[in-house]
């Protein structure tokens, strides 16, 4: 087990280092004024003193190796730089936005996994029947729809036309709601973005669960359980599902990145104040340091979530769990 975990850990460290290096190199290698990339497009309005200060801060007058060292040191001490457009340290912006993204994607992942697993099981259990075919077609359609468009349509129908749910944001501005009222307000704001996120990310879980369940149902131990006289429901949920979940766990990890990416677009549609929306805002204003920081924080989140999932995996799979315990 430790070998498994350290192997994965190494892989994640490499991913993070690669992404950091990419981030370091991008502004320095792109044609054009690196200052623009480091400080945003406002540099045009800066005095030469201010420019000098930025150059100094990023050590642009040092050798490239020294610059790299400074860059890493900054990141690891939580200094993601300064957003010259928003006139605030980036880390503050991230701290404000991250909880919303975690709320949205966390719930989205849990719900889409549960729904995907359930329907995947049903579909495989009824392989070859109408139910199976209908579920398959439905989920294929879901995965074919562009996420942001689903969001827009939901807003058009449920917010603009029917007026049931709020249009924008994570909670009502200036309302000063407290306690339960605030909670309800937040839930109301969450429903549409969450639905959109679940709709677009549920298909991959469904497909894998269905496929993996089909394989498991062909295994001898399922036949054995049946021969033992175990009831159908128990076979389905205790014997088959448990085994079929193993590949789902792997896909769960892969879909983390996808879901967070999807959240970026969905947060944009709903003006949901998460990191993804922040990334979009920074793209609009060409606030390059902020684009980079949001990218990094999303990557970090994915890697950390992956690693947590790796730690949980051995509980599901005794083969990994018990070895060298």
């Amino acid at each position: 087990m430790w070998k498994f975990v350290t192997g994965k850990l190494l892989q994640y460290v490499i991913v993070i280092m690669l992404m950091l290096t990419l981030n370091f190199l991008l502004p320095r290698l792109m044609p054009g004024n690196p200052l623009v990339f480091l400080a945003g497009e406002d540099v045009g309005f800066m005095t030469s003193k201010e420019k000098e200060a930025i150059l100094e801060k990023h050590g642009l007058n040092d050798s490239i190796v020294q610059q790299y060292g400074t860059y890493l040191k900054n990141i690891f001490t939580g200094d993601f730089g300064f957003s010259y457009q928003q006139k605030r340290p980036i880390i503050e912006l991230l701290k404000e936005r991250l909880p919303w993204t975690m709320l949205l994607t966390g719930l989205g992942l849990v719900l889409s996994t549960i729904i995907g697993v359930l329907f995947g099981t049903i579909s495989a259990w009824r392989r070859g029947t109408k139910t199976d075919a209908n579920l398959l077609t439905m989920f294929m359609f879901l995965s074919a729809m562009p996420s942001f468009w689903v969001g827009m349509i939901l807003v058009s129908v449920f917010s603009a036309q029917l007026g049931w749910l709020p249009v924008f944001g994570a909670e009502s501005a200036w309302s000063n709601l407290k306690g339960m009222d605030r909670f309800i307000d937040i839930v109301k704001h969450l429903i549409l973005p969450l639905t959109t996120l679940v709709l677009i990310s549920v298909t991959s879980t469904f497909m894998i669960m269905r496929y993996s369940m089909l394989n498991v149902l062909g295994e001898d131990y399922i036949m054995m359980a049946k021969a033992k006289g175990v009831k159908e429901k128990v076979i389905k949920y205790k014997h088959a599902m448990r085994n079929a979940l193993l590949p789902v766990a792997t896909v769960f990890m892969l879909s983390l990145g996808f879901t967070l990416g999807g959240a970026t677009v969905i947060e944009t549609v709903f003006a949901y104040p998460g990191v993804g929306r922040l990334m979009f805002e920074s793209v609009l204003s060409r606030d390059y340091p902020l684009i980079q920081a949001t990218f990094l924080i999303i990557t970090f989140s994915v890697v950390i979530a992956n690693f947590l999932a790796d730690l949980i995996y051995p509980i599901l799979d005794p083969k990994v769990g018990k070895h060298n315990g």
Binding site: M224, K228, G229, R242, K319
Partner: protein
């Protein structure tokens, strides 16, 4: 001696892309109390299909299309689902073809044996654990290992676990479907003698499916020989060894014994098994039979008793006797 299981005119077909595969057709035999019956035949001849039909485990695209299976007088093929739940494991259990894969990898072996016990016998968890430990000891595994996962056992040990599991609820009849496939020769011998000893000790009826004729003749009371979906001969071991009638049985017996590779004998008959999809009416052995004549290509010989307790499906005997 009373009959425990009797199979009558059993036919099980599979739907395939190319047509209907008549995997088992018109098979009849029976097993007595405390008897060990050997069911033998080449790979693909339908042994597993017979076993699964008896156990009611045939699933789409397969279907039992005709026949009846009486277990202590009760027709299994007509039993309701709740009847079956009561019968399974208490009356009839199976040691499957690949015991390696018959254990669920995510549960401990103990849990899987206990599951069967709790399902069928009115005992509490603690008693079930005790019985599980005893069962494991019975098949030569340390009882304390009930908490181990399947992957922590060797192939031979998993096989023993499967045997222990089959015995969990004191069944009357155990079907052992080539339970030694994939094991080395020494372990095979150990597992087989274990089955034999347990059978004697517990007065079990056993159907021992195999393609190893010498092994079967050495431990079974009666032998049923299958070819391409049909039963071709069924008699006591002694009778088969001395007076085998069917050309296929004779060919099996005459093939040179080769102790290091027992499977060779079965495959060393020239020619190959016919395709069972859309097979026409005929004696299915005629393509390889040295005695085949016209009638063999047009009619299916009846499986009938030529001497008390000796059944054969071949036209030769009929021709010779009139």
């Amino acid at each position: 001696m009373s009959t425990v299981l009797s199979v009558e005119n059993l036919s099980t077909f599979f739907k395939t892309d190319k047509g209907i595969a008549k995997a088992v057709e018109n098979v009849s035999f029976s097993v007595d109390e405390g008897e060990m019956l050997g069911l033998i035949g080449e790979s693909g001849c339908g042994k597993t299909t017979v076993a699964q039909s008896i156990l009611r485990l045939i699933e789409y695209p397969g279907k039992v299309v005709a026949g009846s299976v009486y277990l202590n007088g009760k027709n299994l093929l007509k039993a309701t689902d709740s009847d079956l739940t009561g019968l399974r494991w208490r009356e009839i259990s199976v040691i499957p073809q690949s015991a390696m894969n018959a254990l669920n990898p995510v549960y401990t072996v103990g849990d899987q044996i206990i599951e069967a016990i709790l399902l069928h016998d009115n005992v509490n968890k603690k008693e079930a654990v005790e019985r599980t430990k005893k069962l494991l000891e019975l098949v030569g595994i340390d009882g304390e290992r009930w908490k181990s996962y399947p992957h922590e056992f060797s192939g031979g040990m998993k096989q023993r676990v499967a045997i222990a599991m089959a015995l969990a609820c004191n069944p009357k009849l155990v079907i052992s479907d080539e339970s030694t496939t994939g094991l080395d020769v020494l372990t095979q011998a150990q597992v087989i003698s274990l089955i034999k000893n347990l059978q004697k000790k517990m007065n079990l009826s056993v159907i021992l499916i195999s393609h190893d004729l010498p092994m079967v003749t050495s431990i079974c009371d009666r032998i049923a020989i299958m070819y391409a979906g049909n039963l071709v001969e069924w008699a006591s071991t002694e009778e088969i060894l001395k007076n085998a009638e069917h050309p296929y049985s004779k060919a099996l017996l005459n093939a040179t014994p080769d102790l290091s590779n027992p499977e060779r004998e079965v495959t060393s008959i020239p020619g190959s098994v016919p395709n069972l999809v859309n097979i026409p009416t005929c004696c299915r052995f005629h393509t390889r039979c040295p005695y085949a004549f016209d009638r063999c290509r047009q009619e299916t010989p009846e499986f009938k008793e030529i001497k008390p307790g000796h059944y054969v499906a071949c036209f030769l005997e009929e021709e010779q006797n009139g």
